[in-house]
């Protein structure tokens, strides 16, 4: 079997006359964390809902481990776990009853497996309590436990860090990385935060208006869009020197912004100092999602 666990071809959704999703195609492989990045309304959630079988695509095929979800729905679904938007579970049942409820819908889930996933997400102490009393973070973890019950090959998480506190976000990121690296899962996460995706994913697809406008590794994507902000004294001289060396993208009264280059940054600062310019600050700046979009869509705004 090939390493491709999730393959999407020509995926399209039309509602009425509006084309919501325009011919998406991508492939994910084993052990990869893939990010879906886009502003709200870009079509991330619609795409994810099509991947998990909640929405029927107008055209195109989705295969999970080679199984077409339109033709072999139950077989394909047994290879996949997911959380779509919030991890909504039954608040009037205990965490354990919730897991049992979903375990019944899979085949051959033993008691030991349930205990195992509970341990994996660290919910041993509260698993007997009603889910209604859980914090959002705990619910998120229970949701993950539920998604992992059937030992899926593909895990699909929609905005997995939404509503978590900073330590919860860090934990979640580490957990997702370890699932991919140690267990060889393919994880697809969506987010509207570039920062989030950057720290978690190997590859990322950028979506806007129902289209994937770029798929690339995180390094590549960021490298081409990263900026360097210089605070120099005297500024005019510094700016002159920099513009000789590289392209100055913008400048104001306090700073000069150039492209970032891992290879040349040291050289540029040496040249500045040699010319008698004090380098007060060199700041490598990640592009904001908005900037990235403007860049990629050629000035088209997000909204």
């Amino acid at each position: 079997m090939s390493d491709v666990t999730l393959s999407v071809r020509g995926l399209r959704k039309v509602i009425g006359r509006r084309v919501i999703i325009k011919d998406l195609s991508f492939e994910l492989t084993r052990g990869e964390v893939f990010g879906f990045l886009g502003p709200n309304g870009a079509g991330k959630t619609t795409t994810i809902r099509m991947l998990v079988g909640l929405i029927k695509p107008t055209a195109g095929t989705i295969r999970i481990c080679g199984l077409d979800i339109a033709r072999q729905f139950t077989k394909a679904m047994s290879r996949m776990g997911c959380i779509v938007e919030n991890p909504e579970l039954y608040p009037f049942l205990s965490g354990m009853d919730n897991l049992r409820h979903f375990a019944v819908m899979l085949r051959g889930i033993t008691r030991e497996r349930i205990d195992e996933v509970v341990r994996l997400v660290g919910l041993e102490e509260r698993i007997g309590d009603k889910v209604g009393t859980y914090s959002l973070g705990m619910r998120q973890r229970l949701g993950i436990a539920q998604a992992l019950l059937g030992k899926p090959d593909v895990l699909i998480l929609d905005e997995p860090t939404n509503g978590l506190d900073p330590s919860g976000i860090r934990e979640m990121r580490a957990f997702i990385r370890s699932l991919a690296e140690k267990e060889g899962l393919t994880v697809l996460v969506s987010s509207h935060l570039l920062h989030e995706i950057q720290l978690m994913c190997d590859r990322v697809a950028i979506m806007a208006k129902g289209e994937i406008i770029r798929v690339d590794t995180v390094q590549e994507l960021l490298a081409s869009e990263e900026r360097m902000v210089w605070r120099l004294r005297p500024l005019p001289l510094g700016r002159l020197i920099l513009s000789d060396l590289t392209e100055v993208l913008s400048a104001d009264e306090v700073t000069v912004t150039t492209v970032y280059s891992e290879r040349h940054a040291g050289e540029w600062s040496r040249r500045l100092i040699e010319a008698g310019v004090s380098v007060m600050e060199m700041n490598r700046k990640l592009p904001a999602l908005e900037d990235l979009f403007l860049e990629l869509t050629g000035g088209e705004s997000i909204d």
Partner: protein, 323 residues
């Protein structure tokens, strides 16, 4: 499939639905039983010291005298004489209710509105609550087909209807036996009236024991509740909110009660399900809302509505996009 149904029942229990239904039944029963007890006391006071046995005896003699001149009513008179004779023989005071006759009256009055209402509590949000909670997204992304998920829910509904009817029967027995005593199970009841050509046809009238009559009543009540439950189930799929579904279903039930009194000249109204819910009337011999309606006809109409609702439910549920 058994496991899936078990899941659904676990959720219903988790929501304490049956507890709520039980409490509603107990409260209402207690109210009615008390009212009934007060009423029979009042009757006793009004009648004074007259012995009911003497009165029955007199009525029987009266009827026997009329037998020779009764003509076509002869058969019915004989049946009534039999009934009164039974009361005398078994020392049952017909105006003093025992548990079975209280249950009979109570079931007759609750089958059309009260019991379907209780079933609606369960049925109306079987699907829509999963949607409003968002759990439907997990439910439908498991390796189980949508039709299997829906079938498990429907089986759970059929079970719930049975549980509700059973709870109702059990609780009404317990309370009425406690208040009125546990006698009269084999007392005869008149049934088998038919309305033909606008006239009451008593030729099919016969006596059945009260327990048989009750059993039939519960059977019909079960069927009515199942029909209403199935229709609510469909609304629960078609409508996003449980409240909207409940409101629509209530409007149907109430309009049925009103229409039944108005539609005697609107012939095609007899194909509306809500006009056909008065199955109890066929047993007690009240005339049907529209001429020509019979028990068999009403059962068929209701069954067709139920089948259509189920077909619509499955067709919509298996195709619908979930946003």
């Amino acid at each position: 499939m058994i496991n899936l149904v078990h899941n659904e029942m676990m959720k219903l229990l988790g929501k304490r639905r049956f507890l709520i239904i039980g409490i509603i039944i107990v409260v209402l029963l207690a109210l009615f039983a008390y009212a009934q007890a007060r009423q029979s006391e009042a009757v006793k006071e009004r009648l004074g010291e007259v012995d009911w046995r003497t009165e029955l005896q007199q009525q029987i003699v009266d009827w026997q005298n009329r037998l020779s001149s009764a003509g076509q009513w002869r058969e019915q008179l004989e049946i009534q004489i039999d009934q009164y004779q039974y009361y005398l023989d078994h020392d049952v005071n017909p105006s003093e209710p025992g548990a079975p006759s209280f249950m009979r009256g109570f079931t007759e009055n609750s089958a059309e509105l009260f019991l379907p209402l209780l079933v609606m509590i369960v049925a109306v949000d079987l699907v829509s609550s999963e949607r409003s909670m968002g759990t439907i997204k997990l439910l439908l992304t498991r390796p189980v087909s949508r039709s299997a998920v829906l079938l498990s829910k429907y089986i759970a509904l059929v079970l719930s209807v049975s549980i509700v009817i059973f709870l109702f029967a059990l609780l009404s027995y317990l309370i009425s036996a406690l208040m009125f005593g546990n006698k009269g199970w084999t007392a005869p009841v008149l049934t088998g009236f038919e309305v033909r050509g606008g006239e009451l046809d008593a030729s099919g009238v016969r006596l059945v024991s009260q327990w048989q009559y009750l059993l039939q009543q519960f059977g019909l009540a079960w069927f009515i509740s199942l029909v209403v439950g199935t229709l609510s189930f469909m609304l629960s799929i078609l409508m996003r909110s449980s409240a909207a579904g409940m409101g629509t279903m209530l409007a149907c039930l109430i309009s049925g009660a009103i229409l039944s009194n108005m539609v005697s000249s609107w012939d095609s109204a007899k194909y509306l399900f809500m006009v056909n819910l008065g199955l109890m009337d066929y047993m007690s011999g009240s005339p049907p809302p529209i001429e020509g309606m019979t028990l068999g006809f009403s059962l068929t109409v209701l069954a067709v509505w139920m089948a259509a609702a189920l077909a619509a439910s499955f067709a919509v549920f298996t195709r619908k996009d979930i946003y």
